[in-house]
């Protein structure tokens, strides 16, 4: 469990990005907080920069949409899901439990490389 930020750091419709084994983003949809891997599985782009709507985030580069609760892409160009992580809020602090399965990364990207 990682202490990530204060809940006040993530306004509705926004995301907070932090580095674990790979970058992870915590999104605030207004209804709930969701944590997913931040890098689009199609090509190197930060999903935290994407548009949040209807429980999904749209990649800012090629508009691949990912369901924030399942990590599944809704259609092309992304094919692989992003990992989802458990979010817990306690005393206004946001904690994330990192998913133990390996991350799906776009081609040409390696874990640990910025």
């Amino acid at each position: 469990m990682i202490s990530v930020c204060s809940i006040d750091d993530i306004p509705e419709g926004e995301a907070f990005r932090f580095n674990a084994d790979v970058p992870i983003a915590v999104f605030n949809t207004g209804d709930a907080l969701y944590a997913i891997d931040d890098t689009c599985t199609h090509q190197d782009a930060s999903l935290a920069d994407g548009w949040v709507e209807d429980g999904c985030v749209e990649c800012p580069l090629h508009a691949a949409c990912f369901d924030l609760s399942t990590g599944m892409p809704s259609g092309p160009p992304a094919k692989k899901a992003v990992r989802t992580h458990q979010v817990i809020v306690s005393d206004r602090t946001v904690y994330v439990a990192i998913n133990e399965t390996p991350a799906e990364l776009p081609v040409g990207e390696e874990i640990g490389v910025a």
């Binding site: 920069d49 548009w51 092309p76 160009p77 094919k79 040409g108």
Partner: protein, 384 residues
């Protein structure tokens, strides 16, 4: 409809074949490709693939799920004639593929420049990779997006790079003079010499002669001077050709059972109010769904956002994103950041309506502006 032949096995063709299956078509789908390589993504050819950070397997467009599509692959086969009377495609090797429906997705090829190399295919990219070595003197003809991306990659590989551009300001067509000049400035800051307002007279074995008499020593000369659609083979087919194959907004040509998609299609664009041939990657994706729907009699208009042209370019570590289309009398405003800082967003407006947006290293603002653009344009098109 029991059989469909897709002519062109790149981004547009492959995605149309996938869309046909997704929409439930269970007849024969024959996918014909002129290149012998399995389908691959072209944008990395001027960037990561040329730089050597990704390989052939990395840029493959194929997915494990494609095996389930049961496509009849015909790679390394060039189509030479379309018989619209019998809806059949004739291939270079003399074979003939008859089908109830035809998808034209033959793409475009790089315009040649005598004596210079070009970049369009993976084979082109491999040839350039071998020649662009540290210290090599590389001359680019044309400072458009392809030229600029190759220049950036070559400079990063340690080559000594010069770009020769005929226009006074590179990229002034798509971006306008003001912001075209901003992006052109990245060449100098990265040690690449940019010569503008100058044509290339001739390319020799070890030198390039310019129209003003200057001579540049060169080891590698690469032209990035636009592309032209692969539509010559359709002459006499009865299809209307205007740049590309003329279609309506849903990819239907004038001939029933024949659709055209991607770089080879001159499609009606509600956004522009006229027919336009668009070479963007995203256009090929968007049109493939429309073409499949048209062929199967279940049209599927694109989402408003997808109806607006969008492209991106990565060069010198800068990510440029552009949506819409600009015109000469647009008012250009910097709405976020500062061009000098390398991070900004700009809008192009006419009479208070957004017509295009540009962002550099600013994907978040770009996403917002692109939404505003599609909302405003959707209401403009609805009123028209």
């Amino acid at each position: 409809m029991r059989s469909i032949a897709v002519v062109g096995a790149s981004l547009a063709g492959l995605n149309t074949a996938r869309a046909l299956r997704r929409k439930g078509f269970d007849g024969t789908v024959t996918l014909i490709g002129a290149e012998s390589a399995a389908p691959y993504d072209r944008p990395p050819l001027s960037k990561e693939f040329l730089a050597g950070t990704v390989d052939e397997a990395d840029i493959g467009l194929g997915e494990p799920e494609d095996d389930g599509l049961e496509l009849d692959w015909r790679l390394g086969k060039t189509a030479v004639r379309l018989d619209t009377g019998d809806t059949a495609v004739e291939l270079e090797d003399g074979s003939r593929i008859r089908a109830d429906g035809i998808v034209l997705a033959t793409g475009a090829g790089a315009n040649p420049f005598p004596g210079a190399l070009g970049l369009r295919t993976i084979e082109d990219a491999k040839a350039l990779r071998e020649r662009i070595t540290p210290g090599a003197r590389v001359v680019l003809i044309g400072a458009g997006f392809i030229g600029a991306e190759i220049a950036a990659t070559a400079a990063n590989l340690g080559a000594s790079v010069t770009i020769v551009e005929r226009a006074r300001v590179p990229l002034s067509g798509p971006l306008g003079a003001e912001l075209g000049a901003v992006c052109a400035g990245w060449h100098a800051t990265n040690g690449v010499e940019l010569i503008t307002d100058t044509a290339v007279r001739s390319v020799g074995e070890h030198e390039v002669e310019l129209a003003d008499g200057r001579v540049l020593a060169s080891d590698v000369v690469i032209a990035g001077v636009g592309a032209r659609p692969h539509v010559d083979w359709l002459a006499g087919s009865g299809l209307r050709i205007d740049g590309g194959v003329v279609t309506d907004s849903q990819c239907a040509t004038g001939i029933p059972g024949v659709v055209a998609v991607g770089d080879c299609a001159s499609s009606h664009r509600p956004f522009a109010g006229r027919v336009q041939r668009i070479e963007h990657w995203t256009n090929a994706i968007t049109q493939s769904a429309a073409a499949a729907g048209t062929l199967l009699g279940s049209p599927e208009p694109p989402a408003p956002r997808d109806a607006i042209p969008y492209f991106w370019s990565d060069q010198y570590g800068m990510r440029l994103q552009f949506a819409g289309q600009r015109a000469e009398d647009d008012t250009v405003s910097i709405v976020d950041g500062d061009p000098a800082s390398g991070k900004f967003a700009a809008t192009y407006s006419r009479e208070g309506v957004l017509h295009a947006v540009l962002a550099v290293n600013n994907p978040k603002q770009f996403g917002r502006l692109r939404r505003d653009l599609s909302t405003q344009q959707a209401s403009v098109v609805a009123l028209a």
